[in-house]
Structures are given as structure tokens and as C-alpha cells.
């Protein structure tokens, strides 16, 4: 028997062959990036406006966090409703540096006019006054200790969501909290975090959040049309790398174990696998991916505030993945891109309102109802989501009969049927 006749976990082939969607995806992403660049305002023909470049770049970040959600939910069966909190934490971590460094430049500039050269203390007080004036404080809270350093804040993008997920996951998985209880627990974590950030003394400017993040400190010479492209490219690269990492994980034996955990956790334990360790690994890894996605998203959004981390955001994330088709990586990407772009269109007031005579459907208000209905409909009638269309397209019908015999005699497999 040759390699080719064996199953995925056994084949020793390059990732691209084991997981063909990687090549297709990377090619599509690459073409998309090139096309957008050519059509952009900053470097190309000027067909696509800078603000739309930002929307596209943000969408790529949402695709990345959806990928993380698919890994943790679609593959490992943990319905986390807290991954947008990790996303937000990544955004705050990078936002702190952006805001600090930019304010520092402004303060230094303004102090130049003074007769005596400014002392470091004066500069620091100036920055603190500028940043925290809105919440009536004038000193740096302890969590800003590293805000002056880009490398340290970049490390925080990875470490803060990662450590939170590690501690939370360890506590939750160790006490065998599963299913809907775990989902509720992650919602509680998200709610607690966003309520904490809403407070003025949280050290992160309360409900004002962090703003002006679209301005890169010291790079004022570059127009937003150029900066937006940098972030667009960075988001595309991050998404591509994220896809490769996720594909590598799910195509190997690790993927086999987490899918087994999703389907029958107890059985996996009796095979000798420390289930909690696997869950913790995936939960933490996906939290880190979410943090990175957030760190790329918010400089494009320009502002982050605690409302972004409200529990509902994480629920939307689950809805995207469900609509796109969970348990397949490209499904998550399609779902996030499709639904979030559609949502921008509807809520941005571009969708034509429908006049029914007695009532006018304003899409700004009714979009969420439409989304809710689509979610219910997809869950009930097309559980494979949009990604399921690919199965029809490539004619890969797997006879998934969950145990029912395939043939007339018990155990007789009808060849054609099983092969399809």
C-alpha cells in the first residue's frame, strides 16, 4: 500500500498537498491584495478610496480573528464567546504605544518654545496631562509603564491576551466546564473586562478609549492613503500566515485529536490524551491570534473604546463563523468577510430603504434582524454554511450517515456511494 492510499494524518506530504485549500487561499489573497493595491488611491489608479482601503484592511483582520474562532469552536468544539475581548486587548496594547509616542512628539514640539529646555519630568507630565485630561487625571497609571517602548507593547499584544486565556482556560478546563456553561463563562469574562474598561480609573481612559491611532508617530510625512496600504498589506500577510498556521495544525495528528475532542471528549481521555492540555493550547493560541488581529485592526479604525469589547461582539464572531461554515478554515474567512462587509453596507446607509407604504424598512435598524434570521435559517437548513457550497462545486459528497449501513447487507459499502 502506498502513501497516497492512507489517511491525512499518515501521509507525509507537504502541507499544500495535505490541505489543498492553502494554495487556493493564498493565491486568492495574493491576487486580491495586488488588485486592491493597483486600484488604490495611494499607489495606483485611485479607484478605491482610502477609507475603503481601511475597510478592506479591517475586514482582513476580522477574517483572521474568525479563523481563530473556527479553530477553537469549529475544530475543537469550544464555543468561546470571548474572543473579541482578546481582539480588543491586542488593540489596546498597540493603541497605548501609538497614543503615547504621538503625544510625546506633540508635547516635545510645544515645549520647544519655552526658554529653558524641558526636563524629562516636564515632558512626562505633559504627555500624561494630554492623554488623561479627559478622565480628570494627570499621572500615568501603572499599566502604562511600558507604553514608551514599541517592542514591549508589541510583546504585550501577544502576551496579554495569551496570559489571560491561559489563566482563564486553565481554571475553566481543569474543572471540566464544558458546553453552554463554558460559553456563559467566557461571556462573563468579556462583560467583566469591558465594564472594567468603561471605568475612568481603569487607566485606559474609560469610555473615551484610545484615539488618533491612525497616525503613526514620526511618520507624518506619509499621507493616510499610503499608511492605509501598509496596514492593508500587513493585515493580508497576517491573515496568510494565520491560515498557514491553522492549516498546519488541523491537518496533522493534532488536528485529529482536537476534532476527536470535539466529537467525544470522554473517549479521547480514555485513549490517554490529556484533553485539558489540548484545549488550553488551542484556547491560548487562538487568543494570541485574536490579539494580533486586533492590533492590526484598531490602527486602521483609528479609535478603540470599551464598547468594542462588549459581549455582543464575540457573539457576532460566532455568527460569522456559523454562516461561513465552521470546521473548515476558508468557511470562517468567507463568513467574516461576507457578513462584515454586508453589515458595513447596510449600516452605512448605502442600502436603499424599502417603502412598504405604511412602514419604511430602514436597513440601519433592520439589518440586525435580517442577520438574526439568516443565522437561524443557516443553522436550521444549511448547517454547513456558505462554505458548504464548495462541496457541491467540487462534488465532494461525503456519505455522512452517522452509523447507518451504506449497503443492502450490514456493512456492505456501496463503492460509488462511498467514493463520491
Amino acid at each position: 500500500m502506498t502513501d497516497a492510499t492512507l489517511a491525512s494524518g499518515l501521509r507525509r506530504q507537504p502541507l499544500a498537498l495535505r490541505f489543498p485549500s492553502v494554495l487556493v487561499f493564498l493565491a486568492a489573497l495574493g491576487l486580491f491584495t495586488i488588485a486592491v493595491t493597483i486600484l488604490s488611491d495611494g499607489l495606483g489608479l485611485g479607484v478605491i478610496s482610502t477609507s475603503f482601503i481601511k475597510t478592506l484592511g479591517k475586514t482582513l483582520c476580522l477574517c483572521l480573528v474568525a479563523l481563530a474562532m473556527d479553530l477553537v469552536w469549529g475544530y475543537c468544539g469550544i464555543l468561546s464567546l470571548g474572543h473579541m475581548a482578546f481582539f480588543g486587548l491586542g488593540g489596546y496594547a498597540i493603541g497605548m504605544w501609538l497614543m503615547y509616542a504621538r503625544t510625546e512628539l506633540i508635547v516635545i514640539e510645544s515645549l520647544k518654545a519655552a526658554p529653558l529646555p524641558a526636563t524629562p519630568q516636564e515632558i512626562s507630565d505633559g504627555i500624561a496631562g494630554q492623554i488623561f485630561g479627559v478622565v480628570g487625571a494627570s499621572e500615568f497609571p501603572p499599566i502604562w509603564a511600558f507604553a514608551h517602548s514599541l517592542p514591549l507593547q508589541l510583546a504585550a499584544v501577544v502576551l496579554v491576551p495569551g496570559l489571560l486565556a491561559l489563566v482563564f482556560g486553565w481554571l475553566a478546563f481543569r474543572s471540566r466546564v464544558t458546553g453552554v456553561y463554558l460559553s456563559i463563562l467566557t461571556q462573563a469574562m468579556t462583560l467583566a473586562l469591558s465594564l472594567h474598561l468603561f471605568q475612568n480609573d481603569s487607566g485606559l481612559r474609560g469610555n473615551n478609549g484610545l484615539s488618533g491611532l491612525q497616525n503613526l508617530p514620526g511618520l507624518d510625512d506619509f499621507p493616510q492613503s499610503t499608511v492605509s496600504l501598509w496596514f492593508f498589506w500587513a493585515s493580508a500577510i497576517a491573515l496568510g500566515l494565520g491560515y498557514i498556521i491553522c492549516a498546519w495544525i488541523v491537518s496533522g495528528k493534532f488536528g485529529s485529536v482536537i476534532r476527536a475532542i470535539r466529537d467525544d471528549e470522554t473517549r479521547v481521555r480514555f485513549l490517554g490524551y490529556p484533553v485539558e492540555g489540548f484545549k488550553l493550547f488551542i484556547f491560548t493560541l487562538t487568543a494570541v491570534l485574536a490579539g494580533i488581529a486586533g492590533a492590526l485592526y484598531y490602527p486602521q479604525a483609528g479609535i478603540i473604546n470599551p464598547a468594542e469589547m462588549a459581549p455582543i461582539a464575540s457573539i457576532y464572531l460566532a455568527v460569522w463563523v456559523a454562516i461561513g461554515g465552521r470546521g473548515r478554515l476558508y468557511g470562517a474567512v468567507i463568513g467574516a468577510a461576507f457578513v462584515s462587509l454586508l453589515s458595513t453596507w447596510f449600516t452605512g446607509g448605502q442600502a436603499p430603504n424599502i417603502n412598504l407604504g405604511f412602514y419604511t424598512i430602514q436597513w440601519v435598524d433592520w439589518w440586525i434582524v435580517l442577520l438574526g434570521f439568516s443565522f437561524v435559517a443557516i443553522t436550521l437548513f444549511a448547517p454547513k454554511g456558505i462554505g458548504g457550497l464548495v462541496d457541491i462545486f467540487i462534488d465532494r459528497k461525503s456519505p455522512n450517515r452517522f452509523g447507518a449501513d451504506l449497503g443492502p447487507d450490514p456493512g456492505a459499502l456501496r463503492e460509488q456511494e462511498a467514493e463520491k
Partner: protein
């Protein structure tokens, strides 16, 4: 022969109902043992205790040549210590191929990081093919386990147990839903397996037990009612009363 597993004075109750009542049981390193008993006798619960799924209120469970207690170990570390288990209803991973199912069970380091970096070697592939032909699924390696018939799933699960290379094999009603020919093959596999390890088989079908040709323990209301050869226990008056006579 040395003892592999010693269960002594174990009791478990569910909401006041004593499912296992002061049960004692021993099995040697290379022994085949059948456990029979009426429905609700506590056979499955007995396996739950050994594999760490259920914690007994009292008693001891001592295992292996280093005489470790299994009572405070997690399910996964008990499995890693060499206790394999087959459940009453076949549980294979339906969404994955037969080969993947076998690969999951293959005796390897179970830690997340070594699994992440795992690559199947030639030997592993050969081993999986061997196992597959032993359980008659060599042509179904790439099929999803969900496509298999009930009997084939039972086989696959037995194959997965063999792949684990356990020192102690606990098998709960392996022959349920099998054709007579399949049953015969199952007895062969179990007897073969017991040459190199201890095997405990729970079964209702007396013909099947007779063919296993081994020592039999009769469980009733959570404790051992009788023990001995099949002829010995089937002539026991109490056994006839509670089990065979009905």
C-alpha cells in the same frame, strides 16, 4: 503468576443506591477473564472505577508491578499507564478515517507538544496496516469511520485498543450486534491478546463466554457472587437463581 490488578473492598453508591458493594477482584498479568451478570449488576461501573471515570467511596485499586494506586489518577494517566477500555456501545470517531482512528490510538507520546510535532514513520504506517488487516478493515483505511457498519465499528474499536498496546484490556460487551462469524473472530482476537496481557471481557452471551474458555466471575448487585470455570459457575445454585434461571 503475578497479579496485575487488585481491587479490594470497593464500594460505590449513586444517590444512596449501592451499585458496587464491597467488591474484590484480582487478575494476573496474562490472564483472560470473563465477567458476567444480570443487567444492572455493576459490570460497567466496575470498569468505570478502574479507568478513573467513577471514584469509589472506599476500597483500594492497585495496579502494575510497581503497585500504584489508580484512585487518584486522571483518566488519561490511567490510560497512559496501560489500561485500555472498550465501551459498551462502539465509540469511534465517525468524522475521521479508519486510519486516523487507528493512528490516534497508536501507542505514542500523548502530550500536546509532541502530538503537534508528530510525524508518522514507515513503521507506524506498517503497524496500522497490520492492525487493519487483523480486524478485517484493510480495504477501508481511508473510509470515514461513520460509514462503517455496526459490527465493523466494533472491530475498529478493538483495533484501536490493540494499537494502544495496553497491559490491561477492559472490554464491555464486544460481541453485541455481531454476526456469528464475527463473534468467532472476536473470540480469537481476545484470546490471542490475552497471551501477552490481561483481558477482562464483560459479556451476556453464554455461548461467547464458553468459547473464550477462561475463568469466569459472576457479578450480582455489585459484588462477586461466584468465580471459577464456566462449568463451575453455571452449576452454582445461587448463579442459576439470580442470572441463568431467569
Amino acid at each position: 503468576m503475578t497479579t496485575l490488578l487488585e481491587v479490594s473492598g470497593v464500594s460505590v453508591s449513586f444517590d444512596g443506591f449501592k451499585a458496587i458493594n464491597n467488591l474484590s477482584f484480582q487478575i494476573a498479568e496474562k490472564e483472560l477473564r470473563a465477567v458476567i451478570g444480570p443487567n444492572g449488576a455493576g459490570k460497567t461501573t466496575f470498569m468505570d472505577i478502574i479507568t478513573g471515570k467513577t471514584r469509589p467511596e472506599e476500597g483500594r485499586v492497585i495496579y502494575g508491578d510497581r503497585a500504584i494506586s489508580l484512585l487518584h489518577m486522571s483518566e488519561s494517566s490511567i490510560a497512559q499507564a496501560g489500561v485500555g477500555r472498550k465501551f459498551q456501545k462502539p465509540t469511534v470517531f465517525e468524522d475521521q478515517s479508519v486510519a486516523d482512528n487507528l493512528l490516534l490510538a497508536l501507542k505514542k507520546n500523548r502530550g500536546p507538544f509532541s502530538v503537534l510535532l508528530f510525524k508518522a514513520s514507515r513503521d507506524d504506517q506498517t503497524r496500522i496496516e497490520e492492525l487493519a488487516s487483523e480486524i478485517g478493515l484493510e480495504s477501508a483505511l481511508r473510509r470515514k469511520a461513520g460509514e462503517l457498519s455496526h459490527g465493523q465499528k466494533q472491530w475498529l474499536e478493538i483495533g484501536m485498543l490493540l494499537a494502544q498496546e495496553p497491559k490491561l484490556l477492559l472490554v464491555d460487551e464486544p460481541a453485541a450486534g455481531m454476526t456469528p462469524a464475527e463473534r468467532e473472530h472476536t473470540t480469537d482476537i481476545l484470546r490471542e491478546a490475552a497471551k501477552t496481557r490481561a483481558v477482562v471481557v464483560v459479556e451476556h452471551d453464554m455461548e461467547f463466554v464458553r468459547r473464550l474458555d477462561c475463568r469466569v466471575s459472576v457479578l450480582h448487585e455489585g459484588s462477586v457472587l461466584a468465580e471459577g470455570s464456566i462449568d463451575h459457575v453455571t452449576q452454582n445454585q445461587k448463579v442459576i437463581e439470580v442470572y441463568l434461571g431467569r
